[in-house]
Homo-oligomer: 470 residues x 2
């Protein structure tokens, strides 16, 4: 996929133009002629650039980009200024980015836990919204000035991005740039899980974990487009009112209650569909909670994320408890286990476009609406990630490329000192968590024995049933 | 489920009436008054019974039943005559059976490989058609004389069967008893796999193994009810013309060609849905043949069946090669693995009824029609099973309860001698297969190394890709 090497190219945009372009593309001129109107649009969009109008823009063009400089904590994502306009390949468009969406995969990526992001230094970001500023050769369905949302494997957390036109989708009238940046990943993910793998139909029941998160809210809204669907949603108690208003039928506080028990109380036979972003032992619980003909759709390993830096114990635990299933069990249970991650579907342009078109129709009909939790300047990306990782958000966390007002910058500077304190605090928390992790590990060893006991009980029951038949 | 202990009860019908019924049900009289019209209907249906009209029918009532007397070869299913009319519990109806369907699970059961059949002696049979001869208490939607098809966990290969009314479905006008006996298991199975787990939609591609078998033909017909679905069907070459006429787009001779290669030639990206009745290593192949968002639905372990008696090597091989999947692989592949077996869905009466109603609508619209391969008398059950197990059928193998004409009986008697010869031949074949199995086992040890090598290659490729990105 052409998107794969885009960011690397952007970072070396100037070099590339000088060295490789003439050799690769004999028609080196057209991009230049095309860039004239683009430059005008750009001038309107970014007043700062106008001062350099007379100098060849390839040299004066600068843009801010967030760059993951190495795996680790929130401070590993740094705001840098890049020089040189990204070169457009055939089929690509240059997008002046307005807003970007944060996703769980970005948090995993920062810790080195997401293999779809190339090694640092690299610009993260799987979705954004913006305006088309230039179109490459062979692009027929996008024009300068189009308002678009973008889905890409990575590389969208920056002010301009060169992306395949096929990865862009026109923003419907009335949708803000923030909403447009909040929509693609969460709604396509929720839609494909519920309606492709899940085959959701009227009267069914669905468990949505992290129901106040981006995918959770999208899934809840999509469930409500089908008649009489019961939505069980987990979230901490403070978010229950909001998610209930959003469509969750039964809100469950997973921090104080056993969600399996809570679901069984209301739906003793179990559930039709379970969306599982947690992984590890929660996948086992989900499998056992399925009705016959039920579908478990696992789409993440959020349980791996514990603390802002890679927590080896959490990762190992997740691996250790990773769900594995034999076909014979599936047959005897009449169950389905599916895995989903949009990041691995980047070759499926046509499929994604179809789904996007359906999702946008639902938006136009007023049936779905992205909920924005908060919007942050690029300078604040660390705080934005923290909010999401600590599960303090209700809805989508958004980055805006709007320049930060000077006053706010001063405020931020004041906060810096506090941040340093915060960092120390974080460090303490991390250490504490590690200790807790170790303690929990010991507990887990004890817990391991329990499922075995249960299995034994099941076997005993079967034996008895057989005896009775005899 | 009430069906579970039905056959045992039927076999001891006389005893039960004398001993337990008065104690359990104070109103012991109603069944007797109900049995008067039933007896009349019965008299019409079975002329042989009319001679005993004056004697209490509980004592004179006899019926023929196939009984699995122990696990093993075809001769383990014996035709016996039972005495005493089966007692009806509340909610049950007595069905005068006209025709029965043979299923792969019956063949597995005979070898002791199907845990939904209680231990011998027991009457097998999961589906039949017939006429309601008596209705028990609390049955409101069935009446004497109704033509019905029946789905039950077992116990239907006999002339009369007491079954829950909820397990019966009215036969549409114009459908023969043979068709009605051929429909339930195959069409419900194919329908639920394709449209519940599979979520089949226009333009998709489906692989149907054993496309000339009962489920195979049902699945092909159901695929053709959706626009532009491409059906890949495996079958031996002699059956290709028939299955192609039946709707298979690409017939593949699995005996002479590698079906994976054949599919890839036509559909390089792979398939949307694969129905897998084989198990073992074929499930692995199927998984790798899936497109992103593809669904693998495994519904049997036909590979376990090798020869007429349990072949321990085949069983062990199937277990050894049994497919097991980690959720992380599912996520990275965006794939779904489902298991289906109607035999484990016997508690889901409402769900089954809904599907049956949809399937019967399709029948009434002329979109599906069960294909009967051959019909056999109860005396010929061994030959019927052999035909199916040796994959010589195209469509459904049916048993009829029609008495065998005397002439045919004489013919059969003549064949008996030949059968003895055949048995000896079978024995030789079995021995040969065992030898072959041992040889193949050795081959398999060598093959085991190969997948490991491939894994290594994949890892190397990934490493290279990472290097390039850097």
């Amino acid at each position: 996929m052409s998107g794969e090497d885009a960011p690397a190219q952007q970072q070396n945009a100037v070099d590339q133009k000088q060295e490789t372009k003439p050799a690769e593309e004999p028609k080196a001129e057209p991009p230049k002629t095309e860039s004239a109107p683009a430059a005008a649009a750009e001038a309107a969009a970014t007043p700062a650039a106008t001062t350099a109008e007379k100098v060849p823009e390839e040299e004066t063009f600068t843009y801010r980009a967030l760059v993951l400089t190495g795996y680790g904590g929130y401070d590993k994502v740094k705001l840098q200024v890049k020089k040189g306009k990204p070169a457009l390949k055939a089929g690509e468009v240059l997008v002046r980015v307005k807003a970007c969406g944060l996703n769980f995969a970005d948090l995993m990526a920062r810790q080195g836990l997401y293999d779809r992001l190339p090694s640092p230094p690299v610009t993260p970001g799987m979705e954004c919204s913006g305006v088309v500023e230039a179109v490459g050769e062979e692009v027929t369905d996008r024009k300068v000035g189009d308002r678009v949302m973008v889905l890409n494997r990575f590389g969208l957390w920056q002010e301009v991005a060169a992306v395949p036109a096929s990865h862009t989708f026109l923003i419907p009238e009335g949708m803000s740039f923030e909403e447009a940046a909040a929509l693609p990943v969460n709604y396509i993910t929720a839609y494909m899980m519920l309606f492709d793998f899940g085959n959701l139909r009227p009267n069914q029941s669905v468990l949505v974990h992290a129901a106040a998160g981006g995918v959770g809210i999208a899934a809840t809204q999509l469930c409500k487009t089908v008649k009489d669907v019961t939505v069980f949603g987990t979230a901490s108690a403070s978010k229950h009112e909001t998610i209930s208003q959003g469509g969750v039928t039964h809100a469950i506080d997973y921090r104080t209650k056993d969600y399996v028990e809570e679901v069984r109380k209301i739906s003793p036979k179990g559930l039709d569909i379970i969306l599982d972003p947690l992984g590890g032992s929660d996948t086992h619980k989900a499998y056992n909670l399925l009705k016959p003909m039920g579908k478990l759709i696992t789409y993440g390993a959020a349980n791996m994320l514990a603390g802002q830096k890679k927590n080896l114990i959490a990762v190992a635990k997740n691996w250790y408890h990773q769900f594995s299933i034999h076909t014979l069990s599936l047959i005897q249970g009449n169950k389905s286990v599916c895995g989903f991650h949009l990041g691995y579907l980047d070759g499926e342009t046509e499929l994604i476009s179809q789904v996007m078109s359906t999702v946008l129709d639902l938006y136009k009909q007023g049936k779905i609406k992205p909920r924005i939790d908060s919007t942050w300047h690029l300078e604040q990306v660390g705080d934005a990630m923290r909010k999401m990782q600590e599960r303090n958000n209700i809805g989508k966390v958004i980055l805006t490329t709007e320049p930060m007002p000077e006053e706010e910058k001063k405020e931020e500077a004041k906060k810096e000192d506090k941040k340093e304190d915060k960092k120390k605090e974080d460090k303490k928390k991390e250490d504490k968590k590690k200790d807790d992790g170790k303690k929990e590990e010991k507990k887990d060893d004890k817990k391991k024995e329990e499922p075995k006991k249960e299995e034994k009980k099941e076997e005993e029951k079967k034996e008895e049933a057989k005896k009775e038949e005899k």
